[in-house]
Symmetry: D4
Subunit: 256 residues, 8 copies
């Protein structure tokens, strides 16, 4: 296609020149950090290494703060690193378990996130959530493989989980862990259904519907296997917490 998308200049008019940058194949949102405290995150699937490198370079040059690429397979990560190095850009830090590439991690923001998984197969999703959360300034503690088939494992760490500012619960199969955790803590619970399981687990749809239907009030759900989405939900919470004034006298401080 020719026309608008083949240029490489600002996408908007004079007054909003800095807000978006057209790379032809992409229109990069440069205003997101102002609106949301975080620039655009690059989702790798479907993009060529060269495209990823170009967007990352543009974000690194025109914004400050963290830059992230998610779902980046090792082979593609090597390609991106080669492109960036050739262009004289620092190639960033790649976490292969989380499949996350990142630059300029944010300083700690004073928001503690508990990442809890039901089984060992939920590990990669937890790795993504933790890597994204840490890169954006959150403090992460992990609690792995504490699913409801052996409740004593969960109960043994329930107090520690409750002390976090937000809990990310990651579970596949029937996703029951989200309800159990949400019944034990008062803080926000972000549930991540995973595609773990087979047959009736329907690649995570069952856990998604189950978490949506939780008997524990106030559970929020993000997309299947989306450790990234859960981390961003936690980041939104940190964004609110950071804006919060000191607690008025008589309402008490942090108990955790």
């Amino acid at each position: 296609m020719t026309g608008r998308q083949s240029g490489t200049g600002p996408a908007g008019g004079p007054g909003e020149g800095a807000a978006a940058l057209s790379l032809g194949f992409a229109t990069v949102d440069l205003d997101r950090a102002r609106r949301q405290g975080l620039p655009e995150v690059i989702y790798a699937p479907g993009k060529q290494p060269g495209e990823i490198a170009a967007i990352a370079a543009a974000l690194l040059a025109r914004t400050s703060g963290p830059v992230l690429v998610t779902r980046l397979e090792p082979g593609a990560a090597a390609g991106v690193a080669a492109e960036l190095t050739a262009a004289g850009t620092q190639p960033g830090d790649y976490d292969p378990a989380a499949r996350v590439l990142s630059w300029r991690p944010a300083p700690p923001a004073g928001c503690r996130v508990a990442v809890v998984t039901a089984g060992t197969a939920d590990g990669p999703v937890a790795d993504e959530a933790a890597a994204v959360a840490r890169a954006t300034g959150l403090e992460v503690t992990g609690f792995r493989d504490v699913g409801v088939a052996g409740l004593h494992r969960l109960l043994a760490v329930a107090g520690e989980i409750a002390a976090a500012d937000v809990v990310i619960v990651i579970a596949g199969m029937e996703g029951a862990l989200a309800s159990a955790v949400a019944g034990l803590v008062g803080v926000p619970v972000v549930a991540v259904p995973t595609s773990t399981g087979y047959g009736a687990a329907l690649d995570g749809i069952t856990a998604l519907l189950a978490m949506m239907s939780s008997c524990a009030a106030g559970v929020c759900v993000v997309n299947i296997d989306s450790g990234f989405g859960a981390a961003m939900a936690a980041h939104r919470l940190a964004f609110s917490l950071r804006r919060q004034p000191p607690a008025p006298p008589g309402r008490g401080g942090r108990e955790g």
Copy 2:
């Protein structure tokens, strides 16, 4: 329609004359008690009171042991009672909460069933399960409203539940209680998804799929809202237990 189904004689040949009885609109299986220790159970929806009464009368006349009608609404129950009384047949015992009409309850068979529900809305399904189980000779203990949103409620009664010979777990919404209970007990767990909940609960489909995908091994599932089905699964267990020889020395006795 005319023809085969308009007759009212035995459906089979001489050798199997007692096995089935054609009432025109129904072919009653008279052999089930021999095969399964329980005669046919009459499912009321879609049948006229006169038809229900006719089938019940046939079963009462030609079999011994319990006779049951399920999902019988109070209005229809009155109609059935009137028909039977007019025909000189004893009208049976009607349990309006369970919507079960029964005759000739079986003597206690030495099989203890725990009926556990997640929430108060699951009550009618538990009532049906308990009524059918009792009518067929099982001993029932109920544990209501002990869902996972408040785990201490379940843990407080876990020991009692584990002492039963079979546990029926009844839960709607996300159905997580089945996994939690199955992780706590070693005996058979029959899970009944209920249509409790709304939206993503999909009228019980979500709980059904979730129970199927349970992370706790060996959970069995019956149809949505089927207290009857769960009771019959328990009855099958009692059928096996009753045939069981004395435990050999060294394998220990009942610990419950």
Copy 3:
């Protein structure tokens, strides 16, 4: 059923006597306020007015803080009021638009919630969310009928929405408003799909799936039409905010 559930005493052993109360048909969780800052909320569908009144009376007698009944239709509300009045209990405040009955509203907790709807048909869900949020101490501001088919309506109020601590976005049909709002604000976004729409809207399933798949990062989703669930998610956020220590020097205060 006889047995455990027919008693009316504490469900646990001595050490946890106050934690749960068995009413026979219900096991009331009395410990929730301690764990979560809010007692159990009574979901009305499937319960008799007498049952609702009994649970409410128990909670009012044994806990402090707000008590709530949701999805209570006007007719049932009158029945509950009559039962409570007869028993000498204060009948509470009933909001017919929200179908919420409440007692002892919490004092303002310093958490501001924006409730945003896409269309007029989403009004009842917004009413429920607002009523529950207010009863539990949150400050609510509403923005109605600002769906994406006329983006200027949303843009005109975007600044006000962004100033809240948490945003509840309520939309049926294709649910696109959640993505648009989440792209404009940095704070937590709780999306509520509604059953508004027909045909391909699938009674809210389409909006649910769409919100789950949002291109805006960090959107959290609760069950269809669950204004209550969204309010509780906001309450969890307030629970975290309240525990938060003063912001360290140099990280700035509330900008909103």
Copy 4:
């Protein structure tokens, strides 16, 4: 199979000899250009290069105007080119990004199409739409990566989009862009859901249902990933526009 389909003569009787041509494995519709202003388009998947070449050669020999093959992978394109060259037929123009092979592009027909995408992953579908539209005489302008998570990107180009005669909106995930665009323009909007996204995006089904349920009136939807279908819908519009008489006095001319 033997019989009818093994011949290679006209499929109809004398009077309609030119309307359809049987190649044994295919019955080529030669009358489509007369009915619809465009001959049959060859959908490549499931066909051998030799079959594609044979159908293309038949169309090139017996019709005038554009001939198109869609969803033709590069390897198969090379095979088709070899077959055609060997047979002395011109091998056409192959666009690998669009996976479209075409001959005899139509002259410009005076119909302007805006092709708008939500994200970079929607690019290949936009490429197909643009290639097919151009080959059939439409004028295409592209607007890429302007999804609703950064509304300013869309608003910056809204005026240009509104000036087109028809807008093709291509979006995966929740597909919200279709509603936003349709609220901004008065011309026909053809929405193409894409299989971009994961989990709850259901391979494009979610976007399809969401676009169907759009709160913006008059959005039309074609099949998932069907850039071809959208281009053909635009071609139908051009077919109508071309037949249109001059606007009567007093109704004004083109405002765009």
Copy 5:
């Protein structure tokens, strides 16, 4: 709820005061006529007669051109009429078969719409499509009950259908008529699946999916039973046609 939505003034700032009007329960988009050549249409379900009357009165007072209410049942129509009459507003024209209430029909716009149905049960959807189309200035011709089970019925009128500027095809069950019509005409085809049929017809979902998957190229689909949506899609086409300059010499005029 209090706050923003309880006011009744313009929703935007000074510069856009005319663009949206807040009625508290609704934010009326007053700018739509400028953008799309048609003001907002009021969808009746879920709105009280008083609310419908208030929105209609606001639109009648602040815009020119047609005003429409759709899916308005006869009882509610009487209520709306009473409210408007009491307020001194002209009550409009109500078409009970189409369930459409309208004011100030647009003058004919020179766009001819063929409305084609597969069976008699699709009649009410066709009535809605025709009423909305006529109220907005389109010329409608109807072709009823010409489904593919008797193809000669369709073939007998195919020439007349092909002469229209746009064809709306309305069909339930398997929805095959859309493919058959789209194969016969070159103009835009807007397919409306209907909820006609039972069992596997899935309340219109089957027809929706089938029309989406049509083997005839360029079929566009709107929501189930949405005669309104189809009429609005036709109106968008008329909006484009009206802007069109005279056809250049040599490209021919209207052939229909």
Copy 6:
């Protein structure tokens, strides 16, 4: 709508004047008896008694052979009878169990149909199948309530079923009877899933899918609860049988 569909003359041109008749709201196919040996059948839902009477009168006046109305509830049947009687037309024979109204039953065509049901709740569907089959000249024998939960009931009548020319198997729930019967007979088996059952039976979708997936080869399936569809499939078989020449010597005659 005005225009084509408001006339009441032949829908086609001179040469095909007798083939279709336009009644405005319907285009009656008068050619079906020639093509298929049976005129159009009137499906009652969604039609007014007056419309049904008008179509029936037109068919009775312009065709010979059977005329049928299906799914006609008793109240509507009375309305149709009144309309016809007032117009001097014979009101036909109404079968309330089958909800079928018919005129001029066909003479026996020498084709024997076995109608087999799994349970008593499948009765109404069997009644419809039998009534339609008989009205069109088929010989029907019924076998009721012989589902696979008591296989001896089926085996007792298997020989009689196998002697029919075609077997219609009607079953809800899991629909297993179709596989069992198809394994016992060599003749065509038309399976009708019914909406009998609850929960996982999904209103007949489960039986439909199960019958489609039958392990017995050559089972054909019609729509849920469509006794009519099964009878018409049987009628098509009779249409073929009737055209059949005498069996050649050496291939034997009817064995049944």
Copy 7:
């Protein structure tokens, strides 16, 4: 597993010794030819070449008449041939397009089958149907690529199709061809949905549901892509036709 299935003797008691043969991994039904005029057919997927060869050898040794293997890929076919040749068994005739291996084709049975496809991509399913039908003694005529997007192609051959004894209609995408054909012929129509198409075609589910919901009466449907199932349904019809006595005087003979 040990036990019953490891033996290789007759599976039944003395009286039914010939009816089933246990091969350990399979229990071969040797009685099917008597019941249905055709022995068991071997479905290749999931079986090792050695297993296929063993079952085929057993059937060839113990039955007369055709023996068939379906869905046999070329590689596996070579393996089966090698196994059989090594064992001194004739390796049969393999049709790679149909993926069918067969022995001892039945003599022509006087039943004519028309196999009609909508598009070229439906070819392999038609090949399977034709190969199985021919091997079992049916006469097959094919009509390829006559889908409804170009109705004149179908109308040109409609007379020939109507002359068959049974019509198999094979179509993917929206499956509309089944309705069109069934409206043109009076004989049985067996519809085969195919997995042709993408997106909303749902791998054949859409065509399956659409064919089930056909507006043409009496269409029967078999499983997706099951050319085998359709051929077996046709074979059942031939089984009935063959048993048919000479037509009585006055009912006419074959008109075809």
Copy 8:
């Protein structure tokens, strides 16, 4: 992630030190044998050979009784064996057909399990069920390929099946065998739907729903292809049987 999950000590406090063991990537439940008579079973998919070996070694060292790994492909099995051998641990017994690796099989527990399959393609699921059941002390007898398409195969072995203490029925496609078996026996029936079949079989979902909807009372269902789940359900039954006291006089002994 750092923190809790990186340690390798007991997960609980002093009093429950033996109950769970944290390996960092897994929290091994060491208490399960006490609660359920069987230690945790290792599900191989998604785990590295080293992880499997580490968990197995931990269980072998800290528990007595059987240890099992399921769904272990041959390649991974070799890797596990190498890891264990290198670490001086006995590598266990690997059954490649069942894909099960096991150590320390339990002594026979006096519970007889019948494993019944519908077709040869269900074999691998039966192999898994049998291997797990045997390793945990159950006595297994197999009955293969006795599906309902040839009922005499099932009837020939019905008596033997009925003598078991529990029956596992494994079937794909329509899953009808579960209903047929459950109608013939009185003991518990655990149904396993398999992913055998194509098209409408929906990878086992159809069989799952069908078994759930069985017309035979008391059928229990486990997840698709879960031979393991069925074996564990049987093990739970054995757990109950083992605890059973001697039958009281007059209730009879084992009849089997």
